[in-house]
């Protein structure tokens, strides 16, 4: 944006900048300040030196493995959500009478809420639930179904609540790509597969990266479903449970802040990796603008 520089230089202060101030001030006050406060608090433990909380976290057996537990849940859930949403959204990219209809149906799970999903899964997958009765009826499988109170229960609930979100976001990115580009490509003999590979995918890369990050944040901070559907003491003891316990059961805000900081740090590493990967694929504006 070199053209804008002289204008900025001429006018010493642009009054439009005032418009961004309230939002910026709010974020500084309620996001950055607490964050710094928490960071400082985490280096100020109840007892021990500045790093006591962090050494405590990485040497305690029910704390540090929570990082892997969380990642083992969040990464597959995100991959499934984005991986499922991409082909389905691509199929739905053209306006048709199905598009609105299917979108509405696929969006309904957003409204369910973790508790309803959890309750529903406990009943539906339960030992006397409809699924097990149905499987017994058709003699497919008669053993007990173990899809709740473990890893799978949490994963399924993450997919149910996360997929519609990923789908909507990807669909809105895909429909934002000018179909003229694909039409031009098909004039030159590209079949849908080639169109996807050479036109949609590169233009979608930033949207996909964004979607992956947002879906990952959702799955990564899984809290209620890990408690209600998993086994919060064992295989689904995710990091947010550890942080919550430290803050509101042991009232050790310093340790809780330290866990929160570790949690944010791991998350940012993943996000940075995804955004870095994106740059390998894509350079240029998403909408094609006025070109």
């Amino acid at each position: 944006m070199t053209t804008a520089t002289p204008a900025v230089a001429r006018a010493p202060f642009d009054r439009a900048l005032l418009l961004v101030m309230p939002a910026a001030a709010f974020m500084l006050l309620l996001f950055i300040y607490p964050f710094i406060y928490g960071l400082l608090l985490s280096f100020n433990p109840k007892n021990g030196g500045a790093l006591a909380n962090y050494t405590h976290f990485f040497t305690t057996d029910n704390l540090w493995p929570t990082i892997w537990t969380t990642l083992k849940l969040a990464l597959p859930a995100t991959l499934i959500n984005v991986g499922l949403a991409l082909p389905i959204a691509y199929k739905m990219r053209n306006k048709s009478r199905y598009q609105r209809w299917v979108t509405t149906i696929l969006v309904v799970p957003i409204t369910l809420g973790t508790v309803l999903i959890a309750e529903g899964m406990l009943i539906y997958f339960g030992p006397k639930g409809w699924l097990s009765q149905f499987l017994q009826l058709i003699h497919l499988y008669t053993g007990p179904i173990r899809l709740t109170h473990n890893f799978w229960g949490v994963l399924i609930s993450l997919v149910i609540s996360g997929f519609p979100f990923a789908f909507l976001l990807i669909l809105s990115y895909i429909t934002g790509i000018d179909p003229v580009l694909a039409r031009a490509a098909s004039t030159l003999g590209a079949d849908p597969k080639a169109q996807f590979r050479h036109i949609y995918l590169p233009l979608l890369a930033p949207g996909l990266a964004m979607c992956f990050c947002l879906a990952f944040v959702q799955a990564y901070s899984v809290f209620p479903s890990a408690v209600l559907l998993g086994s919060p003491a064992g295989p689904t003891r995710v990091i947010s449970i550890a942080a919550y316990e430290a803050a509101f059961e042991q009232y050790d805000y310093s340790l809780a802040s330290a866990i929160a900081m570790i949690m944010g740090f791991v998350q940012l590493i993943i996000v940075a990796a995804v955004l870095g990967l994106r740059n390998l694929w894509y350079r240029g504006p998403v909408s094609g603008g006025k070109g």
């Binding site: 608090l41 509405t104 309904v108 309803l116 909507l168 429909t175 934002g176 929160a260």
Partner: protein
């Protein structure tokens, strides 16, 4: 399912057909199972006694009246309405002007500012929720409805900015220049030119923030006191302390929650095409003149 008008599927090889079948199958499996999960909760919430049979012995609505009385659903719903509308209004009030500046101007520090608005959406709510709750408790706002509103505003305001920026970028800046030429002040230009043009975007953003805020669990959970719980948090506590209460009344409450969100989402879908959130399609390519 394809439903495309264009002759793109001419080469219908077995691979394409298998792929389409697989997609359709996955989607059907997903939708059917979710439908059954909802139906299971609905059945249970109306069931007199339901033990290991296909359908319960008898039907009743007492669980709903019981949930309403026991969980004080009336006051919880009222708190939810207050929180959600306050958050939507405040988020629009500070978000839309900020989105305008970010869409139109280029200034030093813009990237830093964008990062500031992107971070709350990229950092898990628990991560910043715990320090934020600590600070809010220190200034004695946590536990009150104001604390809950402020906490929910942290992800809501950046979300409005993120949704609104592409909407504003689509508006031809010449319209603003034209308004200027006719002598409109910034405020008049904003109200008479930008706001009407932005109405669909504002509606979309506010409905999305609304649905998100109803569903946002963590931040409310961390900051709410006993009389400032929203529906999600009350629901979680109801399940968490399940031993005392009949699971059916929790199911009834979960159904109420679903109906509340579903109503709003269906309203949202009437006004907002979800496919146009990020950017709009040019449906009719401009003729090359």
């Amino acid at each position: 399912m394809g439903g495309t008008a264009k002759p793109m599927n001419t080469a219908g090889s077995w691979f394409d057909r298998a792929w389409r079948g697989l997609l359709l199958g996955t989607m059907t499996l997903f939708v059917v199972n979710i439908g059954l999960i909802i139906a299971a909760v609905a059945t249970s919430s109306f069931a007199r006694r339901w033990l290991g049979t296909w359908l319960p012995d008898g039907w009743t609505t007492t669980w709903y009246t019981e949930a309403w009385r026991e969980f004080q659903l009336g006051s919880i719903l009222w708190v939810t309405v207050e929180v959600v509308f306050a958050v939507v209004l405040l988020a629009l009030l500070i978000g839309v002007p900020a989105a305008y500046t970010l869409a139109r101007r280029d200034f030093p520090g813009k990237r830093l500012l964008l990062l500031l608005f992107l971070l709350p959406l990229m950092v898990p709510p628990i991560t910043y929720g715990i320090p934020m709750a600590t600070v809010l408790y220190k200034v004695q706002l946590a536990g009150t409805i104001y604390g809950v509103i402020l906490a929910n505003l942290v992800p809501a305001a950046p979300f409005v900015i993120l949704v609104m920026t592409p909407f504003i970028e689509q508006i031809d800046p010449n319209l603003e220049s034209a308004a200027r030429v006719f002598g409109a002040s910034t405020a008049r230009m904003f109200w008479h030119v930008l706001v009407p043009l932005l109405a669909p975007g504002i509606l979309a953003a506010s409905l999305l923030v609304l649905v998100r805020t109803i569903a946002l669990f963590e931040l409310t959970f961390l900051t709410a006191g006993s009389d400032s719980q929203t529906l999600v948090v009350a629901l979680y506590y109801a399940v968490f302390a399940a031993g005392v209460r009949a699971p059916q009344s929790v199911d009834a409450m979960a159904m109420v929650y679903m109906l509340v969100t579903l109503t709003w989402l269906l309203i949202a879908l009437r006004f907002v095409n979800p496919t146009q959130l990020v950017s709009r399609v040019k449906e009719h390519p401009q003729p090359a003149t």
